[in-house]
Amino acid sequence: MPSPDDQTRHRLSNLVRGASPWLVAAVVLALLPYMLRNSYHQYILNVVLINVILAIGLNIVKGFAGQITLGHIALAAIGAYTSAVLSATFGFSFWLALPASIAVTALAGAIVGIPSFRLEGAYLALATLGLAESVRIIISGTDALGGAVGFQNIPPPFFGGVPIDDYRSYYYIVMPIALLAVYLALSILQSDAGRSFKAIREDSLAAAASGINVRKYKTFAFVLSAAYAGCAGSLQAHMSPGFLNPDNYTIAEMITLQLMVVAGGLGNVWGGIIGAVLVTIFDVFTREFYLYRMIIFGSAGVLLVIFLPRGVGGLVQDHFVRRRFKDIREAKRAGPEGVNGAA
């Protein structure tokens, strides 16, 4: 029986082991802007992180809970416009508009989730696609939301009375939020809820038979995913120059978002991150070759699906699994002590 001192030491050691990767990541990310060449790269980094939040959100509902949704971009639009209206029209500060837009989008997510009780697969995809288009069309036709021309003059966040309107300062708002979003996603997905999502994805009938409240967890997946989309939308809205347009929330953007999740790896938090980084940078890179851009983009998508069906995240996961088996094999060869050691 370990002594209380041993137990405390063990807990402390676990805490340090658990927190240290996050601390290292936070330090590296905090220093990253100083390694970039100019504000354009800083701007791209902000866009990458916002896309990371969006992709993780989509991965929760699609990759983990197995619900095929094409309405995620509409949820981002709802978050963005809610934040814009609250701050530009009603004078809310960014710090209030951000949580409010997350709450409103989460509520919208619950509504989007309702069809998932009765629909699955392509039918659910169609229903959510319809919702996405409806949101865009409603925004286009609503003068109070700037209509088709766009919503202008969205104020930047203020910190101690100072506007955070340059890309580097804004990064220090986006980065901690993105880091927190990753941490929360990992925590939730390792909890009972995460296991329930996976059970529903594999077989919703079997999940229900084993006592999982399928409706509750499906709704929770949609709400959680929508909260991520709302957060990303709000961050998009307040980044300089503070302008929103419904044309930034079309089916094309939805496909790009899906590509991020597929390229990174479905059902893998790190996959969402890798996918968002790769696709955003690929998008930026190919913009100069505007004549061939769509061909390059499309071909890359097809090649990825053929050669990396589980995305880059799946490849990384395979690598670790293979290494684990290799270690076990080597330990077996070393004898019974080695097996115990490896186990």
């Binding site: 390694m35 354009y40 701007y43 021309v149 790769l278 930026v284 851009r293 880059v312």
Partner: protein, 404 residues
């Protein structure tokens, strides 16, 4: 085999990611760098971009401008504001351009004005028409295209006097369609206290406007106002004929109607459609006819629309400003050079280009000073199809304050 392809894919992606953040910024001393961001996702869009680049780089053959070579960085913004902003950020911070030309769509030009104003980079807008663009108070923006505040008055007044004041509005929900209808309605209300006979809106991608048109037919309007992009205008013109809206109901459309695909797609259904524009290929001035010939030879367009002429005029204005401005063109003088170019643009008076009237800029950051082209023409299609024909009905010049 599989692992090597996978490794290759990942390697390529990683290299791309690394290069994106480590490629050195352009900083060739002594070169004038011009950034262009336009909507180039259509055949004509690509040609506007090509014309802009070709005309600017043509000066290099004769030694450049004041001995300085010109480098053009041309980018497509796909008419999407976020892509336009990303392009502008790249051009300003990474390519360190001295001036930006762009964009085509108002929804892109609006946020671009904020970006260039904040970073103090001169910007000249070749094609966007939204009135609000120059009302933002930016000291760094100039516009070659005719503002919507002038266009609306040209066709609204002519139609009120020649057709009637009972107007039916059918618009698609894109920025151009919406702002066209708004400007027309505002003018009719303000000038004649006339409310719309009927107004209805459809999606930009809708292909069937017949239900809207039948509703409009039953309202018996004097004028059918069509707001939208070129393909929507062509479709609506055809379907208006199909549902039996009589030809006595005059058809008027947004300035996108001047683009060649409208008469080509609509065929003879386009006959009688009128629109306000900045240029007509029937313009008999020698410089206009020379331009029409050049566009036909180089870009294969027999009757260039006003977006071609506005791109061309914009390039001439930029060249003029670069020639006048005293540029040092070193890394350290970038800010100073941008200011000199802005001031040179602001000093341009009575520029006679392809526009139907002179272009004038001045120093104040107001629409009066920065909406340089205040002359529009009213054009009517007299024949549709590939060999379409037009007729200029009116030419109107406005005071700088008009419509504000």
């Amino acid at each position: 085999m599989r692992p090597s392809i996978r490794t290759g894919l990942i390697g390529a992606a990683s290299a791309a990611a690394l290069a994106a953040f480590t490629l050195p910024a352009i900083s060739d001393d002594g070169v004038i760098r011009i950034g262009v961001t336009l909507r180039m996702i259509s055949e004509n869009g690509l040609k506007y971009g090509a014309l802009t680049k070709d005309e600017l780089e043509a000066v290099n053959a004769s030694g450049g401008i004041n001995g300085h070579k010109v480098q053009v960085i041309l980018m497509d913004d796909e008419c999407k504001p976020d892509k336009g902003v990303a392009n502008a950020n790249r051009l300003i911070f990474n390519d360190k351009v001295h001036i930006i030309i762009g964009s085509t769509c108002s929804s892109v030009s609006l946020p671009l004005v904020d970006v260039t104003a904040k970073e103090q980079v001169p910007e000249i807008i070749p094609q966007s028409t939204n009135t609000a663009i120059t009302q933002k108070g930016s000291a760094w923006v100039f516009r070659t295209s005719v503002s919507e505040r002038f266009y609306a008055a040209i066709h609204a007044k002519w139609l009120a006097e020649n057709a009637g004041k009972k107007v039916a509005y059918l618009t698609t929900n894109d920025a151009q369609g919406v702002s066209f209808a708004k400007a027309y309605k505002d003018y009719m209300k303000k000038t004649y206290n006339a409310d719309p006979a009927i107004e209805t809106q459809m999606q930009e991608t809708d292909v069937d406007a017949r239900s809207h048109l039948l509703k409009i037919k039953s309202a018996s309007p004097d004028v059918l106002a069509i707001g939208g992009q070129q393909d929507a205008i062509a479709r609506i013109m055809q379907q208006a004929l199909e549902v039996g809206i009589p030809s006595r109901v005059r058809r008027v459309a947004a300035s996108a109607a001047s683009n060649a695909p409208v008469p080509e797609l609509a065929g003879d259904a386009v006959k009688g459609l009128i629109f306000a524009a900045a240029f007509s290929c029937k313009d008999t001035r020698p410089n206009a006819q020379e331009f029409v010939k050049m566009v036909k030879t180089k870009y294969g367009v027999a009757c260039p629309d006003h977006d071609f002429s506005q791109s061309y005029d914009t390039v001439q204005l930029v060249k003029l400003a670069l020639k006048t401005a005293k540029l040092k063109l070193t890394d350290d003088s970038l800010k100073e050079d941008r200011l000199a170019i802005r001031d040179a643009l602001a000093g341009i008076k009575d520029f006679q280009g392809l526009a139907s009237g002179p272009i004038n800029f001045c120093a104040d950051p107001t629409p009066q000073c920065r909406d340089g082209n205040r002359t529009g023409i009213l054009v009517e299609y007299t024949k549709g199809g590939k060999d379409y024909d037009t007729n200029v009905l009116a030419r109107v010049s406005f005071e700088p304050d008009f419509g504000l």
